[in-house]
Symmetry: C2
Subunit: 147 residues, 2 copies
């Protein structure tokens, strides 16, 4: 059985997707208590840490497409976690009370997630993997974006 996997598991597309799906499942569970999906929670944290951040910066920092940011913001705004402040073509985002009050809980969920995957992979491997992934995604960023 594992032989049949061999060809694919040597492909970065395959292994990156496999791990990410599992990671996302774990993250979804970890963030459940706060009632937000991991992506929404990350966005909320970012807005709490940088009130008034431009929508475009959110996209850059979280490495998401602008349209994805729009959709995530829509939901958080509808839930009264934050609001858009529109100034001409610029949109900045500020947290609302509900979002600010949630920060603690989000960070707790985040800690749980961290504990979960380091428990599984070991602290060392987890750190190494994370660093390599991040370094690699920066390399992608510079090339893939600027075509």
């Amino acid at each position: 059985m594992n032989d049949s996997r061999n060809a694919y598991c040597k492909c970065l597309f395959y292994s990156a997707n496999a791990l990410t799906r599992q990671m996302n499942r774990m993250a979804e569970t970890a963030f459940k208590p706060c009632g937000l999906s991991p992506s929404h929670a990350f966005m909320m944290m970012l807005v709490n840490n940088e009130p008034g951040i431009a929508a475009g910066s959110i996209a850059t920092v979280l490495m998401l497409q602008p349209s994805t940011v729009t959709r995530l913001l829509d939901k958080l705004e509808k839930g009264k976690y934050l609001k858009r402040v529109i100034d001409g073509k610029y949109v900045s985002v500020v947290p609302l009370r509900k979002g600010v009050l949630m920060q603690n809980q989000i960070q707790q969920c985040w800690s749980v997630l961290y504990a979960d995957y380091t428990g599984l992979l070991g602290k060392e491997q987890a750190t190494r993997l994370t660093n390599q992934l991040y370094a690699s995604s920066l390399k992608f960023e510079n090339t893939v974006h600027s075509i």
Copy 2:
């Protein structure tokens, strides 16, 4: 700017997702010439290599949920790339001529993808990253599945 990223980029959820999104974008481009999405192409390769493979095995090998496999199969079957052979509750999958004839082209696209990302990351880093991802996803598999 990069300081604002710092907190997140140390998280495996964040970095895995970031890289995977970029990887997927690249893969989508690489597989475009064959007219299949990367996931469909992978599934097609697998079925070509193991004609008659059980649907459940596809899920295991590709590390996908059964429902996801169903959906991917639906599309490939509709496109006459393969067909399901139903035997009681068992479903096995066999390639059709169109799918078999496509194998070459798919593999070519796969080579292009490989060349693309090794060109970007360097062969060494690409291999290291892939192996670590795969090894990690196996660790996840054993725990996350069996809850």
